[in-house]
Symmetry: none
Subunit: 215 residues, 4 copies
């Protein structure tokens, strides 16, 4: 049994993931995808309609895989203490972004980052389906930790937390160059999640202290 037995469409999808992840949308050529998949140049248009649609499918596929493999609420129940749920949220976030070792997975994360930088039309649907619900969960946790905070503060806290996580993905190249010992890999992810959780809980306590302080 060889590669050509698993269906051209499947092979195209796999090849597309690799190439798009490596080069981004614009730099990727249909020719390269087809060559890597051992398929004819016309295969992409036959199976997916266009380079654009293939890209959309790659994006959607990656996200649906990531969220099914690393669900938002893994390891905690709704009534766990909010600090625990925050820690779990951060772990999940990092895992979804960076995977658990598969190098292809890591690279796909980069695609999403590129979309964040310059959201394409394909990304909007993705945003509504995956990103926004996830963000709701984080907001909810923060609100429990800061019951008296105004909306603005909740958003800012959530942003600070997300920012810390995203750094590992969007600045991966630089981190690897400037302090390689920090670069997230399969093993070190747990440690990073713990740190971010602690750091963020510290930040939140300070805000809590501030809001309870007598003026």
């Amino acid at each position: 049994m060889n590669d050509s037995d698993i269906g051209t469409k499947v092979r195209l999808m796999a090849a597309a993931k690799k190439v798009f992840a490596d080069r981004g949308f614009k730099e990727t050529t249909v020719r390269e995808i087809c060559a890597l998949a051992g398929a004819n140049l016309a295969a992409v248009n036959y199976h997916f309609g266009s380079k654009n649609k293939l890209y959309s499918e790659v994006l959607g596929d990656f996200l649906s895989f990531a969220f099914s493999r690393f669900p938002i609420d893994v390891g905690v129940c709704p009534d766990s203490p909010p600090a625990d749920r925050l820690r779990a949220y951060i772990r999940g976030f990092l895992y979804r972004m960076l995977g658990d070792g598969d190098p292809l997975y890591e690279k796909l994360g980069k695609l999403l980052m590129a979309e964040m930088l310059e959201p394409s039309e394909h990304f909007i649907a993705t945003l509504e389906r995956y990103i926004e619900p996830t963000y709701e969960v984080l907001q909810h946790i923060v609100r429990e930790l800061l019951p008296n905070a105004v909306e603005d503060i909740v958003h800012r806290c959530a942003g600070s937390i997300v920012g810390q996580c995203l750094l590992f993905d969007h600045a991966k190249g630089i981190i690897q160059r400037m302090c390689p010992e920090l670069a997230l890999e399969a093993g070190s992810l747990e440690r990073a999640a713990d740190f971010i959780a602690d750091f963020s809980l510290g930040g939140i306590s300070r805000l809590e202290a501030g809001e309870n302080a007598c003026p």
Copy 2:
């Protein structure tokens, strides 16, 4: 005195900034730059050698401008308390990234983000010249705030701080869509800087408490 008097090269540079910032490297065409500059199609290659070299110059120009306009150590002296210096550092970081109102400036930040995601050869020099020294300063501040911390912790704290700042740039599109009231604009930057500083000082205190705790 009209536009065509200020030299084709200068006009090309200005046009290149606009177009590269708007579309990114690959999406930008030499044609577009030349058209905007009112120059001949061959002008880019004549004055800059190639599209690539022009891009490098745009990048370098932007960074040298940003660092001269918003220096790292503005508003504080080396012996100010580290908390103040942290706050100043964050302010400077955000200003360098997002400018103080010039829309062209804001967009150029996006170019840097794209380079972070996928560092090109042009970016390496930039990194060594601008990014690394800046990061040294941040490390130094964190070390003063956490005198007993191991290297790893210092790096992680610095990363958390930087991550919070970068979010405003690399997720600008999404922020604008999901919570527009947070999106950084000229005015709101100070508020954001204060929040990140407070949040980070809170995170650092917690680590400090932890490391002093009896095992």
Copy 3:
């Protein structure tokens, strides 16, 4: 009994007529025909061998239908006066070309015009089978009207008559734009036939007068 019961081949033929008539040979795609017929993309080649052969069949089908529905000698007998037979000939010619109301039929005429302009190999057989015999009939009528005319004159008269008829088909688009009240439709065809017959009989009389004139 539904559409799919009447045989893929039949449905393909019907679809091909529509699409070829609408778009001409080159602009028509096999895809479109198959889609309209609700058949597989490979069906055309399976049932007809190739796009070319399908086209030939469409052409032949159209002509055999046209000539069976509007025979050359309808409404007159061989010994009717030649002027009557001319009128009948012209009527038949127009009906064969433009049908009697079926919009599909009208459009198929355009196909024939295109073939006239640039006869394809498929068209030669058609020519010998349908066009030439018809032209013989016309020649015969003209000869009776101009018994003393030389061959050349007979041909020219026949040509003038045919030319007047064809105009309504090959310039249909322009007529509709420039004088829509002339555009042939189901109803107005009889009127047009009468006019052409009268006009032509006038032309022929003049020739007759000329050839009888004393030099």
Copy 4:
């Protein structure tokens, strides 16, 4: 001095005329035009913008040439007898359509016929600029010949005249096959023009007689 001295654009235009005339728009490939012109594949887009625009220019060029070389009112003055003007009109019409010997010219006529059959967007402007004014002239002549005729009759006469002329172009292939002695070539055009004029004047007289007849 060789071909390459006369400018790529000029050579492209000449090549385009040949190829478009030979094959029609859709069947023509930019590759073929460029090859024939000895130019690079990109040359068409550089000089003309697109295959479409080149086609438009070819069409326009041909018509403007045809009308400047064979003006509508050549050889007669506005107050010549209408019969003479009709004869001149027909001569001009045939010359414009078929040229005076240049085989390239003849072929370009075919392009126009194809447009008549299926007017493309390029053709509309052409129609308004060249075809309609010419038709006005013909109408005017017919009206003088039939001063009492209603509009409808004038249009029909004009149509009959135009139809006889067009036949020589749009059915050229068939004529050559069925009665080659009629096929218009450089020399025989005058003869054809005379015949059509006589035939048409005959048709018109008959109508005139009809309208003057006591009911």
